[in-house]
Symmetry: C2
Subunit: 206 residues, 2 copies
Amino acid sequence: MRSYRQYCGLARALDVIGDRWTLLIVRELLIRGSARYSELQDGLPGIPTNLLADRMRHLQRSGLVERGRTPPAFRLTPRGQALESVVASIGRWASPLMGETHPKDAVRDHWFVLPMRLYLRDDKPAAGTAVMQIELPDQPVVLRTNGDGSVGAQPGRAANPDATLTGTPDAVMGVLSGRLTLRQAQARALRFDGDVSVLERLAGRA
Amino acid sequence: MRSYRQYCGLARALDVIGDRWTLLIVRELLIRGSARYSELQDGLPGIPTNLLADRMRHLQRSGLVERGRTPPAFRLTPRGQALESVVASIGRWASPLMGETHPKDAVRDHWFVLPMRLYLRDDKPAAGTAVMQIELPDQPVVLRTNGDGSVGAQPGRAANPDATLTGTPDAVMGVLSGRLTLRQAQARALRFDGDVSVLERLAGRA
DNA sequence: CCGGATCCGGGTTGATACTG
DNA sequence: CAGTATCAACCCGGATCCGG
């Protein structure tokens, strides 16, 4: 992208992250922590491979991304990680746009990790760490209380979760957000196993 | 812009605000409250007139902007106003990028209104409203304590300010941010008139 | 002067094919 | 697996033109 050449923070930021696809690549790395080229392609349906290569070069030159060897995976630098608050802010603004699901839109289960981080809260931060396993059709996700009232979410599987939630993204997000009761969601093929108090601790008001 | 066609908040937001120039237009309206077409052009050096017209149509169709008659000025809808937190978040991320001033970059005095809103804090919210007039070379700005610890900033002139700060953007921002002492800034042709306690109340730690 | 519309060259993007 | 190469379509930038 051409620079705006304006002495203005917003304009200078957009010189770095304003290119098409760039912030979506940051999203993928925020969710996954580390990702290989082919994983990025899978998480960015529609991106032309030449653009992905261009953007990764640009993000490295800009100091937002670094690449590891063995395995050859990309990950965010601290400067890139700092974009989490920007992505969260945009995500919050976007929530009214998520009401209707357009049938031609692509979906990836791991995309729901960011809304989980953004909207879930831990009601009992002093009660010790709680771990919930989420089993979406194509992607397991681990929720873990951070002890400060926030809830961590990342792709993967935990060893001994206190509870497990299995179902479609819609049913799982419905229960976690409080839009659906557990009973309503179970009517939509959602399954819950384990300690119900952990679910009550995390889900509800949102 | 083409839609990403992804069921993801970030992607849907970028479908609306991800086009080149769009967020900078929002910046102009956040600063000015209301602006005519030619004022937008002045605040967006380098924008082609056809793109500005395109973007304004798009912003209106998307419900972020509405236009008044008599005078024919644009202003943000509540939905557009809600982008202030997004712009603030990006601005905060961008602050490390503002260290060096590139000689070819355009500058407009009113652009400094957003960093003022973002970084200034009122040390004595209970002490009643304080008003400071800022006289930048090309643009007067009014600072006003909001009573909740935040400080409002907008282009314009106040009737009876408690204090007046006159100088270049660099000197004014230096004093307000605490990067320069009043004495150091006065050596850079900054002038201060009025109640010094008001300056101390707003400036300092940032 | 204000508020655009029109036109055109060049750069960016999107889609696909190909390669070490 | 991790890209490069190619090319058409589209978007952007710069200039000019136009109606009130």
